[in-house]
Amino acid sequence: MKNDSKNKTTFSRRSFLKLSAEASLAFGVVGGLSMVSVEGDYIRPPGAVGAKEFTERCMRCGACAEVCPTRTIKLMDLSLDIKNIGTPVIDYRFGGCTAWRGECSRCIDVCPTKALNPVKPLEKKIGVAKIRENECVNCMVCYRWCPIEGAVLFPNPDGGDPYTREQDIPEKIKLKDSPYKPWIDADKCVGCGLCAHYCIPQCMDMLPVKEAK
């Protein structure tokens, strides 16, 4: 070994040790950042693969945010979740996802690494909306924007099934100060965020779907 390293000027033992120390330093930095990273749940664009695989697959190119016509896709900024910096998340403050209205699938088409899976992208829900009922003014905007029939429900004071369509609700119970307020069916809601974006009193929250780990 010693004789070999003398003949080879490009790779002496000393430089080999130095290079391996550097390589292990880089390895350590990657591992260390991975350890300290605090994982969170996010509302991803439609068709997103599972949370762990999304972190692996997404290459943070931002193409989905570029092509999104409603500008609802935001690229995650610096955060404690170091592993997910730069990944796309849906922020209802900027818009809502129109994929379930059948109007758009551009982020899915454009994703180079298939982190947004083009196979049946709409089957998986991305989040869930929630109305803070004490702030709701019964403006019915959520009814008009919701792409899924039966995801927004209005209680039926007569004891029947809740109303799923806005036009069925009797005028007198959907007044501003009516005690009856709509609510969201958490199973049917897909989390597109259109209702939350257009909500006039801004009384809706968008929550990510917690994945079973």
Binding site: S15, K18, L19, S20, E22, A23, S24, L25, A26, F27, G28, V29, V30, G31, L33, S34, K52, E53, T55, E56, R57, C58, M59, R60, C61, G62, A63, A65, E66, V67, C68, P69, R71, K74, L75, D77, L78, I82, K83, I85, G86, F94, R106, V110, P112, T113, K114
Partner: protein, 271 residues
């Protein structure tokens, strides 16, 4: 100064291109170059990182990667000085600040910076080979810990994501502070950040067989002033014909600065 101007224009086009592409909803960023039907050209490092992190090959990107390899054989590391959004944004920023500052100050700071780098890197003696070692170590880490580590910190990604957010949501991102990282790390390496930039390193490794677009010295005109060695950002020497294609970023500063006009770019010097 002709080539320097061309280079500056090409960088301007790339930066405004990303901004306009994001504004007009076209998928062109610093990491995803082109989408033509099924053909996708993306950042080779992004492709390698996604491959390592997922431990599977994304076959859709393989033809594009092959095209980028061919481009690298032909053009060498030209990307680094002609296209790289981070380098170009840095140049533009320095130029912009220079407009408001007295030139003596700018030159003084530049000189101090280079001197500090020389002192630190002289002690540590780190160069391109160390950059490659770091790249390989990080690559193993990416495969083990399963996330594209470098994509988060890549100055190209930071600049391009900022341009995208600027065009789509009219905001800048906190992420910009991460640009300080390559600047500081650049102090430790003989010719700055380009010694260890993974994007440049990978491009350099692929561009090893490149033998085209090389500055060739006209021995009759050259008076041996060695100005070309001084201006070369990668520490190469066109004077002694030391032109390593893994390091040369084809900026042709040597051709621009030669007082005798003794250097010329040869497309195919073997002919």
């Amino acid at each position: 100064m002709r080539i320097a101007k061309l280079r500056s224009w090409s960088g301007f086009l790339v930066l405004t291109g990303i901004l306009l592409a994001a504004y007009f909803q076209y998928p062109f960023s610093g990491c995803s170059y082109l989408k033509l039907g099924y053909l996708r050209l993306v950042c080779p490092v992004g492709f390698v990182e996604a491959t390592l992190a997922t431990k599977s090959i994304i076959w859709e990107l393989v033809p594009g990667f092959a095209i980028i390899c061919i481009l690298l054989f032909v053009l060498g590391r030209a990307y680094c000085s002609w296209v790289c959004p981070a380098a170009q944004a840095g140049d533009k920023l320095v130029g912009f600040i220079g407009k408001f500052m007295p030139p003596s100050l700018m030159n003084g700071v530049g000189r101090k910076w280079r001197r500090a780098r020389k002192r630190i890197s002289g002690k540590l003696n780190l160069g391109f080979r160390d950059g490659t070692a770091l790249f390989i170590g990080a690559g193993v880490g990416i495969a083990v810990f399963g996330y594209p580590f470098f994509c988060l910190f890549c100055p190209i990604g930071v600049v391009s994501r900022n341009l995208i957010e600027l065009a789509t949501h009219y905001t800048l991102r906190l992420e910009l502070v991460m640009l300080a990282l390559p600047l500081l790390l650049g102090l430790f390496f003989r010719s700055g950040w380009k010694c260890m930039c993974p994007v440049g390193t990978l491009r350099g490794l692929i561009a090893k067989p490149n033998r085209t677009l090389i500055p060739i010295k006209n021995t009759e005109l050259c008076n041996g002033c060695r100005k070309c060695e001084q201006v070369c950002p990668s520490g190469l020497s066109p004077f002694l014909n030391i032109l390593d294609p893994t390091k040369c970023i084809k900026c042709f500063k040597c051709v621009d600065e030669c007082p005798q006009k003794a250097l010329a770019v040869k497309i195919n010097p073997n002919k």
